[in-house]
């Protein structure tokens, strides 16, 4: 595959719940190593778009191509294979409460990838090490802080060797003093060249990491472009306005 040809193509995705159109004809492409950031008001469809990409929510129409392979939404095998290749990080971590940090990572390796227990443990330890939690493998989710939980969740996703990592507001459920450790992990992933699409309200992630910003409103991408273009002060873009409001908020809090 050509390095610059898109690894993910999302074409004309539409999703409604009842009369409520959540996604209206959304299209975009993601190139290997690229980081796209979804911003915009709540209810704009960011989270649904991410969940449509790995078909946790199956789109009503449109198509998704991963590594030039069209996904057949009605084929379970297609969906399982798609999801193995697309990692997902949730706002509220969604760790498996009955498993230790280590087992949270090994379970999918063993059940989905059918890797031997020994190999799975080895891989899981490596991933925990990477997110700075090598000494916490025996702890259960209830014994971890929010930031640690999110780092375990990231390690869990990365152990599956995803082609793309999707992050759905990865820092929104965290106490302010814990956000830093998660941002550091995400930044180090970016430096390693991980392909990512992320919904976030975190200014440092938006302006510091995004190759392109997608501004979503009412189920559509209404504005897109690199931060250098959209986020210059005095710019009248929606993205700039949005980030200005986020900045004001954080100043009020600070």
């Amino acid at each position: 595959m050509n390095e610059s040809s898109p690894i993910l193509r999302v074409n004309n995705i539409t999703k409604s719940f009842g009369d409520n159109t959540i996604l209206n004809d959304v299209s975009f492409e993601l190139v290997k190593g690229e980081i796209k950031v979804l911003i915009g008001p709540s209810g704009g469809g960011k989270s649904t778009l991410l969940q449509c990409i790995n078909c946790l929510v199956v789109p009503d129409s449109g198509d998704i191509k991963l590594e030039d392979e069209q996904i057949d939404f009605s084929s379970k095998q297609d969906l399982y294979s798609l999801r193995q290749r697309v990692g997902m990080i949730f706002q509220d971590f969604n760790l498996f409460d009955h498993l230790t940090a280590l087992d949270n990572i090994t379970i999918a390796l063993r059940k989905v990838k059918k890797i031997s227990k020994k190999e799975a443990v080895k891989r899981a330890r490596l991933e925990l090490e990477q997110v700075g939690l090598g000494d916490k493998e025996k702890l259960y989710p209830a014994q971890l802080s929010g930031g640690q939980k999110q780092r375990v969740a990231i390690a869990r996703a990365l152990a599956m060797d995803p082609k793309i990592l999707m992050l759905d507001e990865p820092t929104s459920a965290l106490d302010p003093e814990l956000i830093g450790e998660v941002i550091a992990v995400i930044k180090s992933l970016a430096h390693k060249g991980m392909t990512m699409i992320m919904a976030t309200h975190q200014i440092s992630l938006i302006s510091g990491l995004a190759d392109e910003i997608l501004f979503m409103e009412k189920g559509k991408i209404v504005e897109q472009g690199p931060p250098s273009l959209l986020l210059t002060s005095g710019n009248s873009s929606k993205s700039q306005g949005f980030c200005d409001r986020l900045n004001e908020l954080s100043e009020v809090e600070g």
């Binding site: 790995n54 379970k76 399982y80 193995q84 969604n94 760790l95 409460d97 059940k111 259960y140 014994q143």
Partner: protein
């Protein structure tokens, strides 16, 4: 009327043999109910309406009809009609198992619904099938959660098992009645039977509480626990 301790002591080995039969009925019925309950709960939560409708009917029937009626219906009616030559022991076990299965289905269903939905989503996002997610993520958690309610169910089924005497299963109640009718020591013997039931309930509930503590997920605090 004096308490005839000697009558009780003389018949104690005979009554205690009955308690093994009672224990056999209750343990088998509870395990049968566990299998029925787990399968039904999964069907009730994740199934489509063609699965949900008959399961809901099942729950209504077994909750709505007295155990003793079901016992007669199965033992004298259905099993005879189907030419199944089940013993009284087997019949009682099946009826109690199917009854507690209906109640256990609701226990497990409630537990599944109380699990944070995100965990199932996360399992799917990792590429697990629904079956894998249910087996590896949902069941291990809801079974733990359900132990207190299950222990309640145990104590109910244990006492319902005394109804087995009406179809002649040689358990505690049947044996007590047999001895009492011969020795006329009703007061002493039924006190003894009551104590045996009480001790069986107590032992089972304590054992389940130990199991609950043993399986408790570290880090979760429980109010009022020791």
């Amino acid at each position: 009327m004096p308490i005839a301790l000697s009558a009780v002591i003389d018949s104690l080995p005979y009554l205690l043999q009955g308690s093994f039969i009672t224990a056999g009925i209750v343990v088998s019925a509870m395990l049968l109910g566990l299998v029925i309950g787990v399968c039904m709960a999964v069907g009730l939560v994740y199934g489509n309406r063609f699965i949900k409708y008959p399961l809901t009917m099942y729950v209504w029937v077994f909750r709505g009809v007295p155990v003793v009626v079901l016992l007669f219906l199965f033992y004298f009616g259905l099993f005879t009609f189907l030419d199944l030559n089940f013993s009284a022991f087997a019949s009682v076990t099946i009826v109690l198992g199917m009854t507690t299965g209906a109640y256990q289905a609701n226990i497990f269903r409630g537990a599944i619904l109380s699990l944070p939905q995100g965990q199932f989503k996360a399992a799917s996002a990792l590429g697990m099938s629904n079956g894998q997610a249910i087996r590896s993520i949902v069941l291990p958690q809801i079974l733990r959660m359900s132990i207190p309610a299950w222990s309640n169910e145990y104590s109910i089924i244990l006492k319902d098992s005394a109804l087995a005497f009406v179809i002649g299963a040689p358990e505690i109640m049947a044996r007590t009645q047999f001895v009492a009718s011969r020795t006329y020591q009703h007061l002493s013997l039924y006190i003894a039977a009551g104590i045996i039931y009480f001790l069986l309930t107590w032992a089972g509930v304590i054992a389940l509480r130990k199991l609950e503590q043993y399986l408790r997920i570290p880090g979760y605090s429980h109010h009022g626990s020791n």
